[in-house]
Symmetry: D2
Subunit: 454 residues, 4 copies
Amino acid sequence: MEGLTLVDTRHEENALFMAEGWALATGEPAVAAVTAGPGLANAVPAMAEAQAAGVPVVVIAGRTSLAQRGQGAVQDLDQLGVTASITKWRGECLQTERIPEYVATAVHQARSGMPGVAYLEIPQDVLGVSGLPVERPWPTGFPEDPRSQPVNSDVDRAVDLLQNASHPVVLAGSGAFFSRAGDALTTFVERTGIPVTTTSAARGLVDDDHPVCLGSLVHGGIALASSDVALVLGSRFNANLVYGGPPLFSPGQQLIQVDIRAENLGGPRRPEIGLVGDVSAALLAMTEAWTKPADAFAPWTNLFIGSAMGTLGIGLPFGIAARAARPGEPVFVFTGDGAFGLSAIELDTAARHRLPVVVVVVNNGGWGDVRHEQRMFYGEEADQGAILSNMRYDLLAEAVGGHAERVTEQAELRPALERAMKATDQGYPAVVDCVTDPEVMSDLMRNLGGLNLM
Amino acid sequence: MEGLTLVDTRHEENALFMAEGWALATGEPAVAAVTAGPGLANAVPAMAEAQAAGVPVVVIAGRTSLAQRGQGAVQDLDQLGVTASITKWRGECLQTERIPEYVATAVHQARSGMPGVAYLEIPQDVLGVSGLPVERPWPTGFPEDPRSQPVNSDVDRAVDLLQNASHPVVLAGSGAFFSRAGDALTTFVERTGIPVTTTSAARGLVDDDHPVCLGSLVHGGIALASSDVALVLGSRFNANLVYGGPPLFSPGQQLIQVDIRAENLGGPRRPEIGLVGDVSAALLAMTEAWTKPADAFAPWTNLFIGSAMGTLGIGLPFGIAARAARPGEPVFVFTGDGAFGLSAIELDTAARHRLPVVVVVVNNGGWGDVRHEQRMFYGEEADQGAILSNMRYDLLAEAVGGHAERVTEQAELRPALERAMKATDQGYPAVVDCVTDPEVMSDLMRNLGGLNLM
Amino acid sequence: MEGLTLVDTRHEENALFMAEGWALATGEPAVAAVTAGPGLANAVPAMAEAQAAGVPVVVIAGRTSLAQRGQGAVQDLDQLGVTASITKWRGECLQTERIPEYVATAVHQARSGMPGVAYLEIPQDVLGVSGLPVERPWPTGFPEDPRSQPVNSDVDRAVDLLQNASHPVVLAGSGAFFSRAGDALTTFVERTGIPVTTTSAARGLVDDDHPVCLGSLVHGGIALASSDVALVLGSRFNANLVYGGPPLFSPGQQLIQVDIRAENLGGPRRPEIGLVGDVSAALLAMTEAWTKPADAFAPWTNLFIGSAMGTLGIGLPFGIAARAARPGEPVFVFTGDGAFGLSAIELDTAARHRLPVVVVVVNNGGWGDVRHEQRMFYGEEADQGAILSNMRYDLLAEAVGGHAERVTEQAELRPALERAMKATDQGYPAVVDCVTDPEVMSDLMRNLGGLNLM
Amino acid sequence: MEGLTLVDTRHEENALFMAEGWALATGEPAVAAVTAGPGLANAVPAMAEAQAAGVPVVVIAGRTSLAQRGQGAVQDLDQLGVTASITKWRGECLQTERIPEYVATAVHQARSGMPGVAYLEIPQDVLGVSGLPVERPWPTGFPEDPRSQPVNSDVDRAVDLLQNASHPVVLAGSGAFFSRAGDALTTFVERTGIPVTTTSAARGLVDDDHPVCLGSLVHGGIALASSDVALVLGSRFNANLVYGGPPLFSPGQQLIQVDIRAENLGGPRRPEIGLVGDVSAALLAMTEAWTKPADAFAPWTNLFIGSAMGTLGIGLPFGIAARAARPGEPVFVFTGDGAFGLSAIELDTAARHRLPVVVVVVNNGGWGDVRHEQRMFYGEEADQGAILSNMRYDLLAEAVGGHAERVTEQAELRPALERAMKATDQGYPAVVDCVTDPEVMSDLMRNLGGLNLM
């Protein structure tokens, strides 16, 4: 396939995670192709994750041939049924000459409006026809990136509320990222002087070193909670935003929410003002309408991406995708030992495709959050299913020709990380297996319990 | 139920059709409530129709109690499964205290963005709890009617293209209607002098007697086809628009398409320019940007509504709903004899609720389109399943205390219609059973064949 | 179509009801064909009903052509999705040459094992290919009616329990009917002397006049409840059998349950002994194993069929189907006025196809059960949605050239029925519209309340 | 949980594979429990596999609490929708007091009739209620293992056909295995002298060393193809049996098919005689009816299990499950290097739970079948996506404290296997990484191409 780079993985779930990671690194839709039956089934968890996260991913799957359909062929599976509730769009192309049209539609659906997963399946005997002349140019049935903005009256109300706030804060979410609102957001916060914090997906839209940048929610959350007016860009009030309630938001606060879909506005928390439109266009309109003075500054990029659905094992495939998307930049993956296991085999893919990353395994020999939660509920002995063996994760790097480090003392950590980062110059991945104390519970873990997020 | 008028029907399919008809008459979301199992199943055809037509309808259904679920209760049906692909949103409320929240969400989903069907189910033992204090005010989690418009650069390109056209035409579809774009559209066409034609759903947005109004597509289609630039408002290029091709559109023509969802732009036909946003707001922005001169005039209303999906039997329920929505205006329903049969029993509902309509049955004793199509394909003898008996449809009006007319000569028609219209002053429906020649094929029928709409 | 009689109806829901009625009258699978989109959607309620009742029905539907799929064609609907949970088997035939294979499979699936609904869809351009030579004989991939019986050890335990019972009773359900167990059941009860009662579906398997026949559950229920051992043939312990509890069954009683599917045995009520196998074969095996003496007698047929799911409107289509299935026998349909409305238009079908039935409308001007239930819960004023107008249902018969009777005094009833029955000799239907007192509540109604069947 | 052994895995897909492996090793239903959202999604591929293979597995999943449902909770997923087409039975338990009833029903559905996957979900707040007294004993609503057999007339026809055959052969499939037909099958073949071959699932039902045993289909296939009458036990004519055609079956041959579901009989290949019933019971009935003489012999067990759906990565979880099911017997897993990668992390589970297996990795540095197939179609250069790195799989054993062997010469293999098998006495797994020639294509691979199995 000319002009396309193929990265083949060891498990289809990870192929999809890499596609999601690519989209999260570039803002562009990514494509993953899988085989029929078990191939598509293996992709399901990552399709659910990408769809929940609103990430533009196109999945193209094979399917039992028309001639063998319904006869118990190997890999015959009701793929359209299985994917119905975890996709934004589904299609099956039943005629060879319509493949270009269907592929164009899948891309259009994945990236238009609120992004999501577009699923296209092509039966083997529809795909396998050879020598078919392409009688017309690749279809271009869709206009280029049209955008909407909130109507002026809504923009004016929002600007008015913000200008009269004493401690306003901006929260940028994935909708801001996929709108490519980096420039518009930086311009807006420089024009207005309002500080900005981001969800994981939007981290890096405004440079972390920028004076108005509060970093991600882990650091900026307190400023958000204590603001009197908050401008929420491209994020719904779901569990990731604690349903718009404490500790991220306070009841007295006034909220302005911007989203590309009117359907996404409000819900568990009613915003004072709802704006419908592309986040970038909305910010430009608000900047234009702004009348008060402020300050200005300069950028670089700092990507950080997590999971919308709490799906484990995304770290390594996301990291490999980030390296493919930005070849010149170093990539670090931080993961627990438990989560690492779900996709560790993709170290082989990193090695084969020379997409080196440094994996830092925080190895406490178990599923730490599960262990601590169980102990809180059922007492100190309740370790059922929460203990892993003292596995040597560094050896996994060695198995694929990569660099291995095992760290048991804190003083060893920095040198190990430096050696690992340097070693990746050879094109192979490195694993820094950091043995940690299983008794220690993180502050984040300690505070999540009462929030009813599940 | 205070403040709510309940119109109870004879068949749940027609309850939904009436809700759809109400929304098409008022532009507001309508609600239909049905019982579990067969009640919901009976509603399915009309839910599919309303969803295909993009009409805001909320369906609330009962469901087997939690205590009897899975034990083979009467009326136990996987209602969420059956409705998955014919709804915009589905929800099941499993806790009594969450009913207000779910109802508010259903209404929000039905009417926000592109409208559609919101389906809510409530199990019997969740619904049947009595004496529960309403501890908090009815939830208001959603902002009031926020709107989007296309970004200025897209608006400017569109205005530029239109100002340089020699024969531009506007086509308004259901998206224009649900955006309540009547005023904005009238202002735009008066400011620009561009003539306007409409789909059935948008008929009446601009007064039929207005000098720039070409009427519905049946009459305005020729102007549309011969225009050099067409502005399409809130309509997709699906079968109802002949996929954006002949005879409605010509290949050389340039199209501008406005839709509230970017996903809906283009497809089988690529528009020169795609605008994303609310139709009314888009028209206002375009009017503001317009720089060339034109003329002006005055309105009245003339509603005409049809089926998006080719669903038969919608006529009478739509008509009853129109009468409920606009009590002071006369309502005529034109229907074939075949289609009339699917919902004729609702004459009883019209009578019971004093919602009189005049039904004009074009009675050719058969399924005319099927008969003519079969004859074209299989010869003159091919009348299998296309013949109905010479039923006396006028007697159905009599059965419910209404007014009956039977017309066999053209000269009798006008007096019969006048008597029928007058008779409805008593609050009862009238049926004018017009016997027509089964051998006559309509021009519309003659021309539809070659269009490949199914 | 040679050898096939086509009965075309006025509404697709009723086409399916007629197919279900045919299967219930003959024991043979019936076929209904409907158009795509709204046609299939209209069939949904009756498919759900037939599947819940375990009746062998094949539904063949059209579907959007492969060439127009996914482009918004009129009548484009995810039919496989909508029907997933209301069918036993689904298939879409995507190649013209495979049509015979798919049709044979649909029939096989509908009637094999526990019967149910088989749904087959054929896209328009797959169906519409003409001139295709049938290269091979119509496929015969399935063996003829193989049957299973319970293993001997299970049969012996069951016979032992029955022979030691003091008041045993047999309850025959739809599984007995579709197993065509009439002869085997008559032989068994004559050999053993055990009295038999039936569900609606099995009524007539043993002649109502037969000395051991207790009639349907309405009459035989008391004997069933007071028996010490009950043999349940082809019926699950669902709501129709009050979940195997009072008032039909008593807690101390021992039950033997025979079913063609092991999955259907037990559940809410655990049988003492479960037998897996065809009901007819099981009865033959039990008769052979029987060692105690008994009596013997002679038959005729008396069909009575109701709805498994509480679906209203089945009466008239079932009656028309019964007349088609048994042309020489008179058919009476007893229906409330509310239920009659849902399918009354099919009087036209009865007239057109000379399939006369006598419809007795018990016209109390409302939805009696709803009205009484509402009054019990909410007081005497609670008549919302429960009142119908005083419609003249007899005029509906006149509208199609049939015979009309209106009865307001009890003494008029018998003569009216006799005139109506005689009038049907002309081939047209008759309606006897019997005005009844809306204040009277039936005993059945009075007793159903406490059973928690929904 | 008293009396239950919990084996916690590293990836939910493998938890399900282990449950499937347990059922395939023991014939008993197995249970896997997973968390909501991503946990259930990860289980999907293995649920699809187990359902396609007809293996009794119960899956119990968590689910978003009723209180958070529909609000965008982390891990909120339409799990009933995703699993609809890959399960035999689904249920959601919405009331804490009904949990025992639902669990009993899930087990009943998984193992009754034709086995399959039963899926039960329990929302977090339904599961999390503590202190609820169990007011009644654990429900026992289902009778114990009732069985069916074919009716005598069908048995007699089958015996007659077999007795008149000159070269009959028996093929035993998974239906024979789950019927526990080992004894009945051994008795039958000893009584009749008919040789027997098996699918993978049924391997070991008759001892491989038994004189009449032809081994699995790989070895017994030729005898099957050249027989004049074949008795097929518990296998459908799907792709795994080449749709009942060559090279496994010949057109002239007469087939007798035994299956517990009449629906499974015939299809692509029509059997001369179809028998409905439990395989074991059918064999006993046929043995009884047999009148010709034959020979007799003695057993041991030799398990071999593969994938029904071509799902890769099942080897190691199946092997671990086999070791858990039969602790005293050595377990060898043979796997390619590609497939091993999908679940290799479960070496940790083998180590943690002291369930040692010897994994023999046939390491040809790529996806051999894909590579050879691509080359056949597209030429020698077509290695896209088919090459893996020269990964050291033996190091994975070392990483979990196990035994590592790397073999590059054939002479080293046997000693390496012996050392590995001995090493597993310590309770840790061993990996024998065997480097093979990527240019060699297996005979099986060479012959599969023309069979159109997908």
